[in-house]
Subunit: 414 residues, 2 copies
Amino acid sequence: MKRLPAIEVDRSLGVTAPLGFLAGAAAVGVKKLSEKPDVGLLVCETDAQAAAVFTQNKVCAAPVTVSRAHLAARRTMRGIVANSGNANACTGRRGLADARAMARLAAARIGCPAEAVLVASTGVIGRLMPMDKVAAGIERAAAARARGPEADLAFARAIMTTDTRPKQAGVRFPMRGRAVTVAGASKGVGMLAPNMATMLGFLTTDAPVRAALLRKVLRRAADATFNCLTVDGHTSTNDTLVLLASGLAFDAGAKPIAEGSAEAAALEAAVFAVCDSLARQIADDAEGGTKTLEILVTGAAGDAEARRAAAAIANSPLVKTAFFGEDPNWGRIVSAAGYAGISSGPETMRLTLGGLVIFNRGTPVEAKAAELKAAMKAHDITVHLDLGAGKGRARYLTCDFSYDYVKINAEYTT
Amino acid sequence: MKRLPAIEVDRSLGVTAPLGFLAGAAAVGVKKLSEKPDVGLLVCETDAQAAAVFTQNKVCAAPVTVSRAHLAARRTMRGIVANSGNANACTGRRGLADARAMARLAAARIGCPAEAVLVASTGVIGRLMPMDKVAAGIERAAAARARGPEADLAFARAIMTTDTRPKQAGVRFPMRGRAVTVAGASKGVGMLAPNMATMLGFLTTDAPVRAALLRKVLRRAADATFNCLTVDGHTSTNDTLVLLASGLAFDAGAKPIAEGSAEAAALEAAVFAVCDSLARQIADDAEGGTKTLEILVTGAAGDAEARRAAAAIANSPLVKTAFFGEDPNWGRIVSAAGYAGISSGPETMRLTLGGLVIFNRGTPVEAKAAELKAAMKAHDITVHLDLGAGKGRARYLTCDFSYDYVKINAEYTT
C-alpha cells in the first residue's frame, strides 16, 4: 500500500472548478420525491482525455455496458449524463436501448457524437427507466448548464440516492507557472464495496494529460481509496468512476504531462487526495453509520494479505455492531483477520484501538478500562492490527452497523 | 452438491441415545447468569472411534489446539468436556494450560488418559478461564452423568450461549438385525459461518465403524450442512464438530462397517440427516433472525461456483435486511451472485422466490404483486437462482437481518 500524501483538499471545489467544464441538473421525478434533482449533465467544452473504471460485478447495469463500449471506441469524451432513482440494471435489451438513448439525447444538446458521452445511473435495480421523464431532464439540465459553486452542487445533488449530503472535493496546485485543478463529485451510501470503482464518481481536471497516463493514475488512485471502502460488502451493479482532463489550464498545443515526470507525480498526488476525500465522505455518510472506522493492517506477508485481513474486519457485521454499541469487543477484530486467509497466527499480532494496545503477542493486555471506553466513544476510530509477519500493509475505510442500517434497507422499497 | 436423502429425524434423541454414552452438566457461573448450565461432559463407556473437524480460522482457540493434538495422538476417545460463557480464545499460554487442565480433570473422573478427552469452549474471546469454577463444574457434571432425555437436554443446554433453545437430532435405522442410532447436539447463533465445522456440534453413534471411515463421513456431511450455513459471515475461533462411535449396538468384536458398503451408505445418510437437522435448527435460532432462508443455486459452471454465489447471497446484509422488511427487492439477490466470481451474466439467469419466477433471462418478469407479497411473509423462504450455465449446484442456509441482530451484538458485553 502506498502511503497517501498529505495534501490539503478543498471541499468547496466541484466538477466545474477545472477550466473547460460546465454542469447542469434537473428534477423530473425519476426519484420518488420529485422536488429533488435526479438528472445531471457534465459537459466539457473541448475533447477531454478520458479514463474510467467500472464495477467488476458480472451483473452490470446497462449504462456500464454502454459507457465501456464508448470508451473502447474513443479516447476523448465530451460529457457524462447521469441519473439517480433508477439503476437501469437487470433491465435486458430495453435497458441497453434506454442507456444508448440517454447518450444520444445528451450528445444532441452538446453537439457531439453519441459515443462521446458516458452514461451513469444509480437507484433501484430491475425497473425500466421512465424515458419520457429522463429525456425532459436531459433537455433541462443541458439548458441550465453553467460553471461555479452552484452548478457543482446541483450536479453533485442530482446523483444522490439515500445520501444525506453532496460529496465533492478539489485540489489546486502549481504547474509551469499556472494553477492546475483536479476536482470531483461522488455519491454512495449503501450496496457499497466498490471493486475497481465506486458507486458513482466523476473527476475533472484541466491538466494537459493523455488518456494513457490518465488511466494509470485513476486506476492506482481508485485502488487505494474507493476500492478500500466498504459499507456492506455488497458490490453494486453500477459502480462508475470517471476522470476527464480538458487540458485548458494551458493554451492549445501545450505539451502533455510526461509519464514518470514530477508533473505526473503532482497530478497523481492530487487525484489521490481528491479520491481519498470523496471516499472518506462516503464512509462518513454511510447508510445508518454513526462512526467512521479506519482499519489499518500492517506487518502482513504482503499487501494482498493485508488487504484481505482489512476487508474481513471492515465487512464483519460483528465488528461493526460492536462499534455501534461502543463495546471494545476486540476478539471479533482479531478473529475476522483470522479467517481472511492470513499466514500468521495470534502469537505475533498486536492490536491497537484508538491508540491503546489491547492485544499483544497472543495475550490480552490489561488496558485501562476508562481510556478504552473513551476511545470507543469517538466518531473517527482507527483500528490498527499489526500481524507481525512481514511488510505488507493496507488501509480500509468503513462505518459501524446500526439499527438505522437495518431500517433504511428493510424499507428501501422496490 | 449431493442431494440430501429424505430421512426422518427425531429431535427427541440426543447424545446419549446411541448405546454406550452418558452425559452430565452443571451450572457454575462461567456464564453471567449462573443458574444456567455452562459445563458439560460427554462420556463413552468404551474406547470410541473418533473423528472431528475444526475451525479453519488462523486465530483458533486453545481448546481447538488441544483437541487437534489429542486427535493426532489417538484414534479413540473416551469423552468430551465443553463449556459455554468463555471461548478460551486469544488467551496465550495460560489459555493452553487451562484447556489441557480441563482435559486432565475430566480424564481423572472418567478414568482414562488426558489425551482421550477432547475439549470445546464457546463464549467471549480474550478472557482467561475462571478455572476454579470450571474445575468444580467438571466434578459436578461427572457426578451427574446419566443417559436418557434429561441428560441429553442438560448437555445440550450447557453448550448454549445466546441460543434460545437446545438443538439436538437423532436417526435410528436397522443394520444386521439390530437398531443403530446416530444422534447429536449443537449450539450456534452468531459469529457463524462455519468453515470445516460449526460452532460446536457433538454427534454420537453406536455403529461399529473405524475412525478412518468416520472421518470421511463426517467431513462430507459437515461440508454439505454446517459449512453451508451462515448467520453473519464471521467464522468463529472455536468451531468444533465431533463424531464418536461406540460400536455398542453390537457385541464386542463385531465386524466394522466396510467402506463403500451399503452399511456405510446408510450410516452416511444418517449422519447427513442429523447434521442437516442441527444446521437448520441453528439457522432457525440465529441471533435476531425472524426468517429461515434456503438459498439454492443451480446451473453454475461447477459446484464451487454455485457455492460462491450462494454464500455471497446468504452473506449480503442488503439481501438479509430486504427479507426482514419482507421487501421483494430481488435486484440485491442477483447482484450478490454477480460479484461472487461467476462466469455467466444476467442473460442466462432465472430467479425464483417462494415458487414465483421474478427474473428470467436478463429481464424482470411481471410477477403477481399479491402472490409475491404473500411469499415474502412466510417464515421459511426458498430463493432459487439458476445461473443457466452448467450443472453446478449448492445450497446455503441463512436467516434475515433484523434490529435484534444489531441489538444483540451491540450489547453482547466484553
